[in-house]
Subunit: 161 residues, 4 copies
């Protein structure tokens, strides 16, 4: 009997599932993305990560503009980013995004910005969002139902059922 | 009797008043303003001109955020800009702004972006704004009264009284 | 014999060719493109038009980053833009770009930013670029040969040969 | 004789000195800083923090553009930021910046973005920079001498001498 194998397998499976959960958003370095050094200005990545996140949500059926229209905003409350290598004017890259955790109305996202062939890592980052009721100016008690369902599919929380 | 002289004088006086009406907004080229060429990216000037305009209005007692709060927006409907010389990282410049005409709810502004000593001209531009009722999504029939009064002082339209 | 008909036809054909020469660059309004009014900030279009121009050149075999690498920059020297209708968060649009004239090293471009179905016009604009020798800091006497050839194809100047 | 008191005092003094070492950079929320929610877009703070850092260095006699001119760049290699409260259109804030450590060519900075009266905290952040030799594309072995001297004064490392 090897009970310890079971959790190991479980973790492995989760990890595999996670690996497939990366949403990939391609970008190309345009002149306005660069600074005096000829590489992407460090703040530009924040915009790219936001675009990737919005497009990832759209791929799940969550239209960000619709959320805003019903009074639910998703501001970034925490962000940490490491810059490994610069990306030069004209180069292409892939912004890989995935949601790694959903704690109530608090959503954690992870990012890897890589070369097209995946051999070079330019940037890694984590971003935390919180759902806010725009009218009340307060953190929501729970996510809008349709959104929560879609996100649960994303994190595989329905797999066990 | 030389009635034709009077308008000539009036025009001259208006012109002198106009020259003194430049609002001066100093800027410094920061890294995020630049592009790969080490100079200010051509879209950055749009932001600087907006800042100069908002600060000019504030100097007249018109707080832009208050206008927005009462449902009056002032979107740019037309903009033309000529780039004469680039400005490099670290350099300072003066954004000179003035309102040149007010036709109902349509406001024309003129810009000159120059070196501190005024000997070099980097950019010249014209911008037209229109007052919009945000709720109705329509051009307003007239400016909010307090705003109109303040702007009339700016264009010297009260000089004749 | 009606010799005058021939040029008329030629012009018509050129005009038709031009109409087909629009390069179409799709965009989607992301949160970072918007301002307090919930619509695209007026400076954002400058970035979109630059992206469309760079991608149009790429479609002709002109890689902008390569131009810069050989010391040829293409700064904007003139830009005029009219804002017809705002574009809201989440909406899609097409940035249509085409080069309308090449006078030596001076390139004129025209833009129309429209709804996907072409029924709504959001923005129209003209942009003039000039080729600059980055090292000398001076306007070039002629375009790099490969670039000139590619652009001549774009404007149909080889059609007559 | 109480030798242990001396380091305690030294630490206290350093701490006091540090508190006074905040460089204060005032900002005002302009329309282009905001997003659809009427508050500062989360990427805008990155630009403000860069401006505050560059101006802090200038106050020490280190002109960032001069560093770049001699081939020394100072890219951000790590950044973490927490968003506590939004800042609305038209509001003013103070970006407080200070260098907290210098490990060879690695510089750690800390930020607090606050209301003018210091009672509200909007953002806190840490940023790490590394000096890079632009020509070689490699991390420098040591900072340019004049820069190192100026920064040592900043961190109070000369206090002991």
């Amino acid at each position: 009997m090897q009970p310890q194998l079971q959790p190991t397998e479980a973790i492995q499976q989760l990890s595999d599932a996670d690996l497939e959960n990366w949403y990939e958003y391609p970008v190309r370095v345009q002149p306005h993305h660069t600074d005096y050094a000829g590489v992407v200005w460090h703040g530009t990545y924040i915009a790219w990560m936001e675009e990737a996140r919005v497009e990832c949500l759209r791929s799940l059926g969550i239209e960000f503009a619709d959320l805003v229209a019903i009074g639910c905003d998703l501001p970034v409350v925490e962000l940490s980013i490491r810059y490994h290598r610069p990306i030069r004017l004209g180069m292409e890259a892939i912004v890989k995004a995935r949601m790694t955790a959903m704690n109530g109305v608090r959503l954690n996202w992870e990012y890897q910005i890589q070369s097209l062939d995946g051999t070079e890592s330019y940037v890694t980052a984590q971003v935390t969002l919180v759902a806010v009721d725009q009218e009340k100016g307060r953190i929501m008690r729970q996510l809008p139902a349709a959104m929560e369902d879609a996100l649960k599919r994303l994190t595989g929380q329905f797999d066990a059922s």
